[in-house]
Subunit: 130 residues, 2 copies
């Protein structure tokens, strides 16, 4: 399958690169629509799936049942605010040691882990205090 260039795909990836809050497909759709009023949700989904398949973006699942997307593909951890439901990046070293830790008492083979943290984000923490 040889990729052909597409303005819609560029716009989708371009939009994702401007955001660090890991938008959902719906958010991507409503923003890209400003530039391509006729773009369909299906095209957005198709391209998000394609881009994550080829490793240009990340599909993130943080337990809310909705896929989020991230243009930062380097491994990093995510944080979910339990008040505003926002998703953000965490500046945190790899925790890969926990793989060996888990492997020690496990009969199969552990290849990796998925971790996200939850709590109150900086903004919601400030609002709670005031």
């Amino acid at each position: 399958m040889i990729l052909k260039h597409s303005k819609q795909r560029d716009a989708i990836k371009g939009f994702l690169m401007t955001r660090k809050d890991h938008p959902t497909a719906d958010v991507v759709y409503s923003h890209v629509r400003k530039e391509f009023p006729n773009i369909s949700l299906g095209t957005v989904y198709r391209n998000l799936t394609l881009l994550s398949d080829i490793g240009e973006i990340l599909r993130i699942r943080v337990g809310d049942g909705i896929d989020h997307f991230d243009a930062t593909v380097e491994p990093h951890y995510h944080f979910v605010c339990t008040k505003c439901n926002g998703v953000s990046d965490l500046n945190l070293d790899s925790l890969n040691q926990i793989n060996e830790f888990a492997d020690a008492s496990f009969d199969g083979h552990i290849a990796g882990h998925v971790t996200y943290f939850y709590g109150t984000c900086p903004d919601c923490t400030k609002k709670t205090l005031s």
Copy 2:
């Protein structure tokens, strides 16, 4: 909201307690149906949601888009096999230290984390070797 007793709910919880493989709602449905042939999927979902709301069971999301349920409510970690897609428990001490680790470089407040490990389960590991 005062709970009333229900045989269907008992059967659902009872079935979950016999299993350590974290069945999906569909699996619960097909098994409880042996005892209650007329039970509906809606009732199964309603009770699974109710039971997890009151903390009698756990709703587990391991990235496959399908909810799994677990009658063991004590904190523990899960493992997902990337070959057979099975979900199992891991015998692993709490990793709560990673919360403070993450909190150190974070401006909000971290209340906890969700982690699951993936790889090949004992059974699939054996099959691969043979």
